[in-house]
């Protein structure tokens, strides 16, 4: 056990007691990165992966060691001067490279922004820095967050799952989950548009929180689907995630969609237990539904037994602690989540990508052009990878005047129906009166690298159980809940009503306590087994 394997809250406690310095904590984090991360992602795709590469995590695109050292020294100075160093003082963290951070490269894992240095810092990052946390670098993701495996990054090698390096870490916050899972940092800032925090958290055996839409400012987050994007924490424990949300959440004058509601004190209630809580299980989250590629008919398939069992076993433990488990909660529109998401997210994405045109910043084609449209075409063709191109095509198509009613407007109506499913089950005067739904996070555990990549539709179904929360705007959290037969982490998910993160943290923390002595909690990721 090294410093970097401790939780954020343990580290800040030791720091305040002067048992350790911020510089020492940082050094431990940098040492771990040096051991397990391997070479950072780059635009050079010609170098063949070596056997050594295949054993590494490759979470980072950009390291900010020097800035981190200055930040850590400042924390140490504050502590020795008796000043308040902040809630997360001295805690190293990584930032998904979809957030702008002043004077660092903010690439969105795309060639088109490879040289872009933001002149400002995103609000959640700024708040982490204000709280004394130490940013060690920017981590990899699917290009513009468009994916669920992290393989679509323009910066290769893409991250690998620390539990088994021939597996994907999930995505799009793959670098975030991998860096936390491998003990490189206790905390990472990710984003979740359809499951992009929760799914990689589940794959990498860590905690991932998608807060209520509007709980955390999006200012400085390079937009994918603006009505769905949520910044949120990736951590190794529920309490760490709660502390991080405490820091990054709250109103922001730069984001009109950030909620003005007061932030609750999450840590003050997190140990309150689940006694009397009503937690629901829904059959609609124990299967996946997908269109038959030939006929378009919706087919349905149960989830692997190991995953369903993990959820049921968690429900039993929560029941044993006094929660009431409500079975057979109907969530009938869950199955339409992916098709509706496919449409809505692409429309917003295509529009959000318009600004990358070679005029102002980022890549401009080196080919000669004699008219403006050629410049646009060359630049966007060279700068965007496959995923942005597919999403632009789809987004343009379904929002065109003649198709909009049939696709985009229809998808918006489906979105409302999904929202109503949740409203019905959380309604305090309704039939179910749930405090939370307990579901699997993902239909499978981490898949092999290259196994799904290339099949955009199949890849998207990795998000089937997470995307409804994004449609509805509600909060969700993924918790590690054991391993499957091949030793890969299984994630379970709690979904709550708007702004009930504190409830989800309480349940998550209770589950952690109930399982803390179980043997699977002691298992180390593959990349850490040698030391």
């Amino acid at each position: 056990m090294e410093l970097c394997d401790l939780t954020a809250l343990e580290l800040t406690k030791m720091l305040r007691k002067k048992e350790v310095s911020a510089v020492e904590i940082l050094q431990s984090s940098l040492d771990r990165i040096a051991k397990v991360d391997g070479r950072p992602g780059s635009l050079d795709h010609t170098t063949e992966l070596t056997e050594e590469d295949k054993q590494k995590v490759h979470a980072f695109i950009t390291r900010t060691d020097e800035i981190a050292l200055i930040q850590a020294q400042e924390v140490d100075r504050k502590i020795s001067a008796g000043e308040d160093p902040g809630l997360l003082a001295g805690v190293p963290f990584s930032v998904k490279d979809i957030f702008c951070v002043k004077d660092t490269c903010s690439t969105a894992a795309s060639k088109i922004l490879a040289n872009f240095k933001a002149p400002y810092t995103a609000t959640p990052v700024e708040r982490m820095l204000q709280a004394g946390a130490v940013m060690v670098g920017k981590v990899n993701l699917d290009e513009f967050t468009y994916g669920s495996s992290n393989e679509s990054s323009a910066f290769q090698p893409s991250p690998r799952n620390p539990w088994k390096t021939d597996r994907v870490p999930g995505g799009s916050s793959g670098g975030s989950a991998a860096s936390v899972g491998a003990g490189e940092v206790p905390l990472s800032l990710g984003t979740d548009t359809a499951g992009s925090i929760r799914q990689p958290a589940a794959f990498c055996g860590v905690v991932g929180v998608k807060p209520t839409y509007g709980r955390v400012s999006r200012y400085g987050l390079i937009a994918f689907a603006s009505s769905l994007d949520c910044p949120g924490p990736v951590a190794r424990t529920v309490s760490d995630a709660a502390a991080m949300l405490q820091v990054i959440g709250g109103a922001d004058p730069h984001d009109a969609t950030a909620s003005p509601l007061d932030m609750p004190d999450y840590l003050s209630t997190i140990e309150d237990g689940v006694k009397g809580m009503r937690i629901g299980l829904s059959p609609d989250y124990f299967r996946i539904t997908y269109p038959d590629p030939k006929t378009g008919d919706l087919l349905s398939q149960p989830l692997p037994a190991e995953i369903e069992n993990a959820v049921r076993s968690a429900a039993e433990k929560l029941a044993a602690m006094g929660a009431e488990i409500i079975e057979d909660v109907p969530m009938p529109n869950t199955r339409f989540g992916i098709p509706a998401y496919f449409v809505i997210s692409r429309v917003e994405a295509a529009s959000n990508l318009h600004r990358y045109d070679g005029v102002k910043y980022g890549l401009r084609t080196q080919q000669s052009f004699n008219d403006l449209n050629k410049m646009y075409r060359f630049t966007r063709n060279e700068g965007f990878g496959l995923q942005p191109k597919l999403r632009i095509l789809m987004g343009m198509y379904v929002s065109a005047a003649q198709y909009s009613e049939q696709y985009y407007r229809r998808a918006l109506r489906v979105r409302t129906l999904i929202r109503r499913d949740f409203e019905a089950v959380y309604d305090p005067r309704g039939k179910y009166r749930l405090d939370a739904l307990l579901t699997p996070t993902t239909p499978t555990t981490a898949f092999e690298m290259a196994a799904v990549y290339g099949n955009s539709v199949l890849m998207q179904y990795a998000d089937q159980l997470t995307v409804p929360a994004n449609h509805a705007g509600i909060p969700g959290i993924s918790l590690p809940a054991g391993f499957d037969a091949s030793g890969l982490p299984i994630g379970i998910q709690l979904l709550g009503a708007d702004f009930t993160e504190s409830t989800l943290f309480r349940i998550g923390r209770a589950f952690e306590k109930a399982t803390e002595t179980e043997s699977w909690r002691q298992v180390k990721p593959q990349v850490l087994q040698d030391f």
């Binding site: 903010s106 933001a118 969609t257 318009h354 600004r355 102002k360 909009s404």
Partner: protein, 484 residues
């Protein structure tokens, strides 16, 4: 020859005179700023930025909507209008589409005799089809094969207001713009200066045989930056369309550009198909919730509008239309007029004469603001009263205007200090009269020979010697007596 009528609709873009831009805290006006100096990450559309709505923009737009008799929606939305252009940094413009701030509306446009084909004044009701808030784009300048882009104007708050196809002559279109400009300044929501692009206008023009009800293909005239140019351009386009139709050609839906220097229209492009802007709700902004409270607060000191005030001036003060028009051309001037009338208590037409002849010249020549002049409405009323009482004559009164404006002293004070009061002492005037007659033997002889009109010349000479201070009627009386 067939009798044609023109069908004209105007699309105006109005720059609101807020302090800051619509979605960021840059200054709204960059008129004197060098290119790309009044910009920030938000208005330049950098990755990751978000718009935050400036409430003052909504409030000013509500004032305009109310003035145009439009219905203000309790819930309206922003939408993205997607298109590529180098001076549109986000690749979409934040605008309002199907659920905009205001719905419907109209302006009852008075068309004066001078702008009427049969020289009879009439009123034209112009309907409003669109009234919404949007952000401006930047400016592109082309020099040879290079383009220069200035983002200063990005995010400047605009109201786009589109009329129905209700205007029938180029003069009506010009009158509409004159009245719109007056209204915008009156409400204090825009400088409405066309030369500075605070008020921009595109005109849609088609013609049809008078009596027909269908609409024929229209052309759109762009880049016209003065009211006169709008009138000229529309008139020329109507003539062109008539010539084309008479020659058996069909009018094609072109976009035309007005070339100010040559005074001609040039074809910019054909408009075969409508562009698809793929509008959808702007997810980065909340809807505008216009509560009754907020609306009432915005409209709490909504002013009497210029056309209503003009009608009232004619009715209440018995002013000629011409006077009422000029006195309501600008809100501060009309307030000044009415305050003077109240303080004076005499004939409003007399106030109007003084204002239009003398005070207005001072205001225009010296670039004064009626609200802030040292020559206050109370001071002007006092001068009028002094003249009425015979304390000073009209000329002295008029000379007082500038003196009060320069010194800030009260008219009374200046009259006393400079001894400007009329001399009505018989002896003093009689002495000067005798002097004048003694110096002008020839004129005296002519007068006595019957050229009695010379009396005016004698009075003038006396006034001149007494530097205008003599009571002219007394001088005349004495002169006539001496010349008997």
């Amino acid at each position: 020859m067939t009798d044609y009528e023109a069908i004209i609709g105007l699309e105006t873009h109005i720059q609101l005179n807020t302090t800051t831009k619509v979605f960021c805290s840059c200054k709204a006006d960059s008129w004197f700023a060098p290119p790309n100096t009044n910009i920030c990450p938000v208005c330049c559309g950098l990755p990751g930025v978000l718009p935050v709505l400036n409430k003052a923009v909504v409030e000013k737009a509500v004032l305009l909507a109310h003035a145009m008799n439009a219905e203000i929606r309790p819930l309206s939305y922003f939408d993205r209008k997607n298109y590529f252009y180098p001076d549109l940094p986000k690749g979409y413009q934040i605008s309002q589409f199907d659920q905009s701030l205001a719905k419907g509306g109209y302006l009852d446009l008075p068309v004066p005799a001078s702008a009427s084909p049969d020289k009879k004044a009439y009123t034209r009701r112009v309907s409003i089809w669109k009234l919404h808030i949007e952000e401006d784009a930047g400016k592109t300048k082309t020099a040879g094969n290079r383009r220069f882009i200035d983002f200063n104007r990005c995010g400047v708050p605009l109201v786009e207001m589109v009329t129905g196809p209700d205007l029938r002559t180029a003069d009506e279109a010009a009158q509409y713009l004159i009245r719109l400009r007056q209204l915008l300044r009156w409400l204090g929501i825009s400088e409405a200066d066309m030369e500075k692009a605070h008020l921009r206008c595109d005109a849609n023009v088609s013609i049809r045989v008078r009596g027909e009800t269908k609409f024929n293909p229209k052309t759109e005239i762009k880049n016209v930056n003065s009211i006169d140019a709008v009138r000229d351009a529309i008139a020329k386009e109507i003539d062109r369309q008539i010539r084309e139709v008479e020659a058996g050609n069909r009018i094609q839906a072109w976009t035309l550009e007005w070339d100010e220097d040559s005074g001609t229209l040039k074809k910019m492009r054909s408009k075969e198909t409508e562009a698809d802007y793929r509008y959808f709700r702007e997810p980065d902004l909340l809807p505008i919730r216009m509560s009754e409270d907020w609306k009432n607060q915005i409209l709490s000191d909504f002013p009497e509008l210029p056309l209503a005030r003009r009608a009232r001036f004619i009715e209440q003060y018995n002013l000629p239309e011409y006077d009422a028009d000029i006195l309501t051309s600008e809100r501060k001037l009309s307030d000044y007029f009415e305050n003077t009338v109240r303080a004076y208590g005499g004939d409003p037409k007399k106030v109007s004469n003084w204002l239009m002849n003398d005070v207005l010249r001072m205001i225009n020549d010296q670039g004064l603001n009626p609200e802030e002049m040292k020559l206050t409405s109370a001071a002007l009323a006092e001068i009028l009263k002094l003249v009425d009482k015979g304390t000073i004559n009209i000329n002295t009164g008029k000379s007082l205007l500038q003196k009060v404006q320069d010194s800030g002293k009260s008219p009374d004070q200046i009259v006393a200090d400079e001894g400007l009061g009329l001399v009505s002492d018989d002896g003093a005037i009689r002495a000067v009269c005798e002097e004048v007659l003694a110096e002008s033997p020839n004129e005296v002889a002519s007068y006595k020979a019957g050229k009695v009109t010379l009396i005016g010349w004698f009075v003038g000479s006396v006034m001149k010697k007494m530097r205008g201070k003599a009571d002219a009627s007394l001088a005349r009386q004495i002169l006539e007596e001496l010349l008997k």
